[in-house]
């Protein structure tokens, strides 16, 4: 019996490191599956939430964030940069002009081939949408928390920044050292640029790492994606050919 409603909550698989498979799946109505290598743990939702709270407390005790409270960081951002965190040596607050920042924009070159582009703030989908260019943003594929679409997310943020200012509750736009690329806070930057102009000087949080694994290698990523996409097409066409 297979559950059609399996949602992968997190996946950190590796071919090279000790644990080849680390995956958390929500099998809706059934259980949460925690795969660690060849072992699978079945947890109820409550057990999983307890487990998750325990992990969060452990991360707080480890003080991974140079004295900053882990709760000020977005959960999805933490998940995305988890692989680099062991090399995090310092966090600083720095001044920067919005127009000096670069933003990662995902472009669908073909229907299912995604390539990264680096854009200025006034070329991000969110900024363009806020300034009346409605073409791309609603369909722009990005991570949103459950129950929120692109428009609602941006509207909530616009209201929050108008009411609370920036930064609110210690939540800064985040960069990694060595590159002026926004790693978390693209929408906040777009809203700030929309409200106050692209020459606004803002404070950002800079993560300093003691290695360079965090560098965004756009061309390498795009090349690997293209190769994977081609291989996938070959594999699926081969499957069809062999079935016929």
């Amino acid at each position: 019996m297979s559950n059609p409603a399996v949602i992968t909550l997190a996946m950190l698989n590796s071919r090279n490191k000790g644990i080849k498979r680390f995956q958390i799946e929500d099998n809706i109505g059934e259980s949460i599956h925690l795969h660690v290598g060849n072992i699978r743990l079945d947890l109820s939702v409550n057990e999983f939430l307890d487990f998750s709270a325990m992990i969060r407390k452990t991360l707080i005790d480890l003080d991974l964030f140079d004295g900053y409270d882990i709760n000020i960081f977005d959960n999805h951002f933490l998940y995305e940069c988890a692989d680099f965190l062991c090399g995090l040596s310092k966090i600083s607050i720095e001044d920067i002009v919005l127009s000096d920042l670069k933003f990662i924009v995902r472009k669908h070159v073909l229907n299912d081939l995604i390539q990264y582009r680096l854009s200025s703030v006034d070329n991000t989908p969110a900024f363009r949408y806020l300034n009346g260019d409605f073409d791309d943003f609603e369909a722009y594929r990005q991570f949103n928390y459950f129950g929120l679409n692109n428009k609602e997310r941006l509207a909530d943020l616009l209201n929050s920044l108008k009411s609370n200012g920036y930064p609110y509750q210690g939540k800064y736009i985040i960069l990694f050292n060595g590159q002026n690329i926004v790693r978390d806070g693209q929408h906040r930057a777009a809203v700030l640029a929309h409200l106050y102009g692209i020459d606004m000087r803002i404070k950002v949080m800079m993560f300093h790492f003691n290695d360079n694994r965090h560098y965004l290698k756009k061309n390498t990523y795009n090349f690997k994606s293209l190769v994977k996409w081609i291989l996938k097409k070959i594999r699926s066409n081969l499957a069809v050919f062999l079935t016929a």
Binding site: S2, A5, I28, G29, S44, F146
Partner: protein
Amino acid sequence: MSYVNSNSIIDIFNQLNTSCFEYILIRNINNELPGRLRIGKDIDLLIHYSERSELINFLKTNGFKSLRHPHQQDRFLYGTKIFEFFVNKDNVLLDLNYQLSCRSLNAGEWIPLDRKIQSSAWKNKVLNKMDGFTYYSLGMEDEFVALVTRSIFDKKEFQKGYVERIDTLIKLIDVNEVIEKFQLIFFKFSSVLIRMLKERQYKMILNNYLSFSEY
């Protein structure tokens, strides 16, 4: 609006009925068959994979030719067989399904419904006779399960034609049998789901399912 010639549809079903092949018409939403099937719309047939080669020969002998299926590059998991399209000169478009399946919420891969549901489909198939149109369909409980499953996983909404048929069937089905089958797909959400269907809360079902946490 152009419709497929109903005589051609009746004719191919008559040929299937007198052949040695078992088949089931999986759904006939809005009673489109035989007289109101728009050209380009397909007819979903459930077929035994073990009879595939013979059936394809049968179809080719009867003027059908193979056509590229729009889902043929999708991922098919757990032994799900790829769907196949066959069309004849009268635009009768057959979509051959070798098992009852649905899309996974994970990445839209196709996966088969539980083996017990597959067996039940064949065991409980029903012969229908309607104004000269004779065909085998799923039993009511299996059709109900298939419609709800397709709405949630494939369509991600309850469309009008589906709602009308579900509303009709819910008064006729053995609810306990349906719950038993739902449990093979929706697990602990099954009883919530049947209650929501009875209360016609169609617009809320998908959200409630995705945010369900009582397990």
